[in-house]
């Protein structure tokens, strides 16, 4: 608890943690937005969400190894993941859209193990990062450092989230996605190719995660086994924020990022993950208690 005293004595550390938390929180929100999309439209909880983020990071790594600018990794990762997401849908996911939740949970869990072990075989289990080439800002006489790539990650997460929201509101495919989410059978009767809508939804989700992964590898770091915490963070954010509420997803994401930074600092970095998972359980238990109080799940 020494660190807690440190926070009280030197308030400027709080600012550092707050900023770091918000930067990473925006990326969490981006992945969560994708999860909410897939959950809402296809009724699938995509456990391989975190692995898509991880893949986005490794693709950016490859872009850099090819001698290109790391920033180029963001669109490249998004495009590659879009294709992969589409392929995964055509290969596996379409079979489980109609299945019960546990089947889809387990099947996407299988996909996540496959992807994580594949990357482990190819790149090894080491922690990787990519130098973005952007600079650092020093605030408060150098007491607070802000790497510009984190700011970029923050801003881009917002921009991408907003773009997706606009797409769902206005574009033809976006409207088809929303119609399918509300009532797939009615959408089919109206001539919407729901199978294609599902494929697009899953691919868009993968692309979002890919972009998030590219930002993560530049601003923070990646490794093959990083996926599950990202998946569960997305899940937590969606549960708290609900499906289809962009502002709530962003605030929940930022809140989680900040809470995690403070917990990691106060409890020690080795307990940061334990904190995330216990928080997830706590959130689910709290939700349960609230539901039980209402006592109206019987139809």
């Amino acid at each position: 608890m020494q660190n807690l005293q440190l926070l009280l004595q030197a308030p400027v550390f709080n600012i550092q943690l707050l900023l770091d938390g918000m930067f990473i929180g925006a990326v969490f929100a981006l992945a969560a937005f994708g999860m909410a999309l897939v959950w809402g439209v296809m009724n699938i909880i995509n456990v391989s969400q975190g692995e898509f983020v991880m893949l986005g990071g490794f693709i950016t790594l490859m872009v850099v190894q090819a001698g290109l600018s790391p920033l180029l990794g963001i669109p490249v990762a998004a495009v590659v993941l879009f294709v992969l997401g589409w392929a995964l849908y055509r290969g596996i996911i379409w079979r489980i859209v109609e299945a019960d939740m546990f089947t889809s949970l387990l099947a996407t869990f299988g996909v996540s193990i496959m992807l994580q072990q594949l990357m482990n075989e190819i790149f090894g289990a080491d922690v990787r990062t990519v130098e973005s080439g952007l600079g650092i800002w020093f605030l408060f006489d150098g007491m607070v450092t802000v790497t510009q790539i984190k700011v970029l990650a923050f801003v881009l997460s917002f921009v991408i989230g907003l773009a997706l929201w606009l797409f769902l509101k206005t574009a033809r495919l976006g409207q088809a996605i929303r119609a399918t989410a509300q009532n797939a059978r009615a959408a089919r009767i109206l001539g919407i190719d729901t199978d294609r809508v599902y494929a697009a939804t899953y691919a868009i989700n993968a692309a979002l995660c890919g972009a998030a992964g590219a930002l993560v590898v530049m601003a923070w770091s990646i490794h093959p086994y990083m996926g599950l915490p990202y998946t569960l963070r997305s899940f937590m954010i969606v549960i708290v924020a609900g499906l289809g509420n962009l502002a709530a997803v962003i605030s929940a994401g930022l809140g989680l990022g900040v809470a995690e930074q403070f917990a990691g600092f106060i409890l020690g970095a080795e307990f940061q993950l334990a904190f995330v998972f216990l928080l997830l359980v706590a959130v689910l238990v709290a939700r349960q208690v609230m539901l039980a109080r209402k006592r109206q799940y019987l139809k």
Binding site: K294, R295, Q296, L298, K299
Partner: protein, 254 residues
């Protein structure tokens, strides 16, 4: 409004019950009672709050105002399972049965929980229980299906199974939510006959939601009619049949 006929309190008594969902008032200030051993009907157009009232009575959700008395106890704070164990059982409009278990198993698992000890749970169940389960399946006409998975039955058969399950649990009172909906019309007379025998031979008090006017007028000795969440009329069948407010409500004039 009628008064209780018998000396003791009625078996079920709903007093000034109000239930809101957000801003919508599903039940407003509803009072009714059902005496031991009678068959009472509950009618009303779609969306008039009949099923909500059932849900309130069996403890599926808390009520906002009022009291519900069953068998001498105020039950509006009780949970579903507790109320069921007191002997107040309901069937569902959309059937709820255990699809991956056979009909016999469905029956055996519906035995009255209130008389059970924990150790009964860890015994194979007696021959007498099985015999009773078979008898009741025969009573509802599902004897030949007894080893079939309940999920493989037709909708109407599932309703009959659910009814048999309710009987198996030896309730004091049954709330039936549209027992004839989805049942083959040629079988409805048989069902009405069974409901009557349930009441007369087994002594089970019935409160029945029903849309089929011919059935309910035949079956019930007293009828309550809801409209827009409020109690519109109450009386014996012939009175209700000729009540202008009831007719208007059904024709959508009110």
């Amino acid at each position: 409004m009628r008064e209780w006929q018998a000396q003791d309190r009625p078996l079920l008594e709903v007093k000034n019950v109000t239930k809101r969902f957000g801003g919508v008032v599903a039940n407003r200030n509803i009072s009714l009672f059902v005496e031991r051993g009678t068959i009472v009907g509950l009618i009303g157009p779609n969306g008039s709050g009949k099923t909500t009232l059932f849900n309130s009575i069996v403890g599926a959700h808390p009520i906002d105002e009022g009291e519900i008395w069953f068998d001498g106890r105020e039950i509006s704070r009780y949970r579903t399972a507790q109320i069921a164990r007191m002997g107040l059982m309901r069937t569902f409009q959309q059937t709820h049965i255990f699809g991956k278990m056979t009909c016999i198993e469905n029956m055996l698992i519906s035995m009255p929980e209130r008389r059970r000890q924990l150790r009964d749970l860890f015994s194979p169940g007696s021959r007498a229980d099985r015999a009773r389960a078979v008898d009741l399946l025969q009573f509802v006409g599902l004897y030949s299906k007894r080893h079939h998975l309940a999920g493989s039955l037709s909708f109407g058969q599932q309703k009959l199974l659910e009814f048999a399950m309710a009987l198996m649990s030896e309730p004091k009172m049954l709330l039936l939510d549209e027992p004839t909906a989805g049942i083959n019309p040629t079988l409805i007379n048989g069902l009405v006959d069974r409901l009557r025998r349930t009441n007369a031979e087994l002594g089970i008090t019935l409160l029945v939601i029903e849309h089929n006017m011919r059935v309910i007028m035949n079956l019930a000795e007293y009828i309550y009619c809801l409209a827009h969440g409020e109690l519109l009329a109450a009386g014996p069948p012939e009175e209700i049949r000729n009540d202008q407010r009831v007719i208007d409500a059904y024709l959508g004039a009110s």
